[in-house]
Symmetry: C2
Subunit: 243 residues, 2 copies
């Protein structure tokens, strides 16, 4: 039987989601604890990887197990074994053709940043973007991102993926609290470092280093060199996977 | 000369703000590092204490030093020595009659809570308040708190303070993000555990255990037993001190 797993995690102390030799990863820790709970070797499949330092409000995975489970009991026991920075929020039986990775229709990522002086609280999960960012210009630039585009300009150069066309359904900056903002983006899929490179570019637009309408030129250039720097991983959160 | 110091801190790993024998406190660490930077024994005075586990977006302190300082240089050097969960955001010269504690006109505290399943991210700085809280009723109850009242019902019983009359200028619940809320309160001063006891009471009102209009009866009773539990320290943040 196939089970769907919803988890949240603070990625700060992990080498990303995906299992890697000799590194502590979200997937690795989850598989270890679920294997103890279920007394057999469990392999999980996530909706996708998240990089080292990236967190998730809601990440979806699936795993197979040869019997009926008391899902709530498994959830409570696994959460008891797991470190507090990884929490299982739901386990449920799904159809066998459900695949956490391939059935995903869209994903939402949120990137947190804040203005003004360095702050011990915000510094934990958001990037300090300095003073006087022009949020309106950043939102104008976001409009060019929405739609179906070849996002080569916003993809880390060390990737083997060939098809770099993705659809972005929504992209905008939202004010959260006094000096705290998030850049929220929804798409059918994201290239390696795509959200972080878009964020880095938007910050340069907010600072006036790049004009907002130049975002269109950057996209059309299909050249990573034209876009801004890759923003730090700590501000990035996988918010939601939709099926 | 007198200097005004603005700091932020994550209180998670500290036994509160105020210096205590054999305990690691915000004030203790700050005094130690500033004394290294300024090469003399520095004593600081905060606007008030915060309890163990309570954080601050902006806490104001003052200290005296017998000479003119290059404030930015002191700030950078001290931040270099300080652990990353305490950050100095500003140092400036002030008049000698400025007192971080006695000159304070009002303070704002924010208390973060979230609804739904336990979440690894929110769990770091907010309290999980379960499902289906009636935020409207909680906001109705807030209206009774605003004004000048004897807040004995919302004061930890182990206190030596006699005058328990305080003025609350504003108190409300604000939605921050999907399932994340904060209770924000501004007043001329706060009794020991006052914000946390009000929050605990508001959560019981949100859950329907206490009617919103009963808040008035709780205040008038001047009886700590009538109010709710003291909410956990981790959700509480000193947001702003106004002079």
């Amino acid at each position: 039987m196939r089970y769907k797993l919803e988890i949240s995690y603070d990625g700060k102390n992990y080498s990303g989601f995906q299992v890697q030799l000799d590194k502590i990863t979200i997937q690795g820790v989850l598989e270890e604890k679920l294997s103890i709970v279920l007394k057999e070797n469990i392999k999980i499949t996530g909706s996708g990887r998240t990089d080292a330092g990236v967190s998730a409000f809601s990440q979806i995975c699936h795993f197979d197990f040869g019997g009926a489970l008391d899902c709530l009991k498994v959830l409570n026991y696994a959460n008891h074994l797991l470190p507090s920075d990884i929490r299982i929020s739901n386990i449920e039986v799904v159809q066998n053709d459900f695949n956490a990775r391939y059935s995903a229709k869209s994903k939402q990522y949120d990137y947190y940043f804040y203005l003004g002086k360095v702050n011990a609280i915000y510094e934990k999960f958001a990037v300090n973007a300095g003073y006087n960012l022009d949020i309106e210009k950043m939102n104008n630039a976001c409009k060019y991102i929405v739609g179906e585009h070849d996002f080569t300009s916003f993809c880390a150069s060390n990737t083997s993926i060939k098809d770099k066309v993705r659809i972005v359904y929504d992209a905008k900056i939202i004010k959260i609290d006094d000096d705290l903002y998030k850049f929220s983006i929804v798409g059918n899929g994201f290239l390696y470092n795509m959200v972080r490179i878009i964020m880095g570019t938007l910050i340069e637009i907010g600072r006036g280093k790049i004009e907002d309408y130049f975002m269109e030129t950057i996209i059309n250039s299909k050249n990573r060199e034209m876009a801004g720097k890759t923003a730090l991983s700590k501000g990035l959160f996988l918010k939601k996977v939709t099926y």
